[in-house]
Symmetry: C2
Subunit: 241 residues, 2 copies
DNA sequence: CGAGTGGTTGAAATCCGTCAAGAATAGTGG
DNA sequence: CCACTATTCTTGACGGATTTCAACCACTCG
């Protein structure tokens, strides 16, 4: 809606193809006043967007595609700690312990890259920018809390069911009941902390119970939200307070 | 070290016993310049510090004791999403979905309570306060990411082992190898998403393997850190990238 | 003393991870 | 466009780990 920003900085193409700036200005977002500082970069499937080395250099805004924040554990297993979709901000944290990297999930994942030190300096003088940075941090906190609640569930069907509901909520604001999963079964598995086979079985299970419908492997239609939330077991209190 | 702050506001005792202000000023922390605004309140074991209703009213700084952020799921199970120890800041997030509450874990848990709207306003004019608020959010993010990594582990022994290491790191900066667990087995179970019995068994297991020593039920001595980090299985790569 | 809480341990059923094989899909090069 | 290959996805079988149900012990508090 807003006219394309006239850039004072040329688009960089450090890691990928430089894109025209108007890609960014189509949607409103917290840092839109800083669009002039942003470099629009595109990434291939599986390509690394940033890793521990450049922890503190940039903030990112995901324009299209999807990205995952990965951690590799000592036993070699990969864990996906966060999943970023269009409209999400991200960046590595400072105290990044476990060799975390952020990678593009889909081909042609486009991000806006903001120079971090520059923004920090601007935040010192502009309270509005400072507030927006805070907002970004709170949104990330909320995302991780949701993720914690999903991981805390017991059965695999519950985890997968919650995952589908989360994706539905984040992908389409309009509460659409048909969603295109942005990630593979392997990614879902590493995101939920279960094995690929279990993910597949849980999806088949949910389908058979009439909770969802699968059109192709990546398209899910939600039939009964209740069945996704609750899992199969009857609700009875157990937790001690 | 710093002399006690002369307060312009009298200590309130909304929910508990009002404490003398010098409790707060003993240790340096991000919001120490706002100590004059803080009310020092003490809570009983299990008492609610705040719930969804007063989401946006306060920020808290934990002075002594421990607190847990709980979510109750539809099936009645409790999940502990975050654990706050002395020196931690906390407060409910805005979009608090799942009936979250924050409760004191120990008897005589003391917190400093800062009026949230007031601080927000101050942050608008004082960039230093704004930066400190950001710092608080990033610390919370880091805490939750650690928690995600723990929950993503596979075996119960690994989860409990990581939990002990995290507690050791957070409770004593001095890398002491003897720690006093601030929470019950039930809390550990709900924090790690496993059953109480499994927690108990994992602790016995770790003890038997010589990783820890238990003096009383709540005091843990770390003997071999390696055994706690790795769990029992041999390290072999499997995750697909 | 008895009740209640917190902790530990045992036995059975269930769920999930692993190994294995096959089916479907996408990607590549001719 | 088709064949070929690699990847992704699904399903089966088996063994191990965890949940559940149960009993028991230690400790505290009235």
């Amino acid at each position: 809606m807003r006219p394309a920003v006239k850039s004072g900085v040329r688009p960089s193409d450090i890691n990928g193809i430089a894109y025209n700036r108007h890609l960014l200005s189509n949607r409103p977002h917290p840092l839109e006043n800083l669009d002039a500082l942003a470099a629009i970069v595109s990434f291939h499937r599986g390509q690394e967007i940033c890793s521990e080395g450049q922890s503190l250099e940039h903030w990112y805004f995901l324009i299209s595609g999807a990205a995952r924040r990965c951690a590799i554990r000592s036993d070699g297993r990969r864990q996906i700690v966060d999943l970023m979709l269009p409209g999400d901000f991200f960046g590595l944290l400072f105290g990044d312990q476990s060799g975390a990297t952020i990678e593009a999930v889909q081909e042609n994942t486009v991000v806006a890259s903001y120079p971090r030190p520059r923004i920090e300096i601007l935040a010192e003088s502009d309270p509005k920018i400072a507030r927006e940075l805070r907002q970004i941090a709170f949104t990330a906190l909320s995302r991780m809390q949701t993720q914690l609640l999903i991981l805390g569930r017991i059965t695999a069907s519950e985890k997968v069911g919650s995952f589908i509901l989360e994706m539905a909520a984040r992908l389409s604001e309009g509460e659409s009941d048909q969603i295109a999963l942005p990630v593979s079964r392997y990614d879902i598995a590493d995101y939920l902390g279960i094995s690929v086979e279990t993910v597949s079985r849980a999806l088949s299970d949910l389908k058979q119970r009439g909770a969802i419908r699968l059109s192709g492997t990546r398209t899910v239609s939600i039939i009964h939200r209740d069945l996704l939330e609750e899992g199969e077991r009857d609700g009875r209190a157990s937790g001690r307070c």
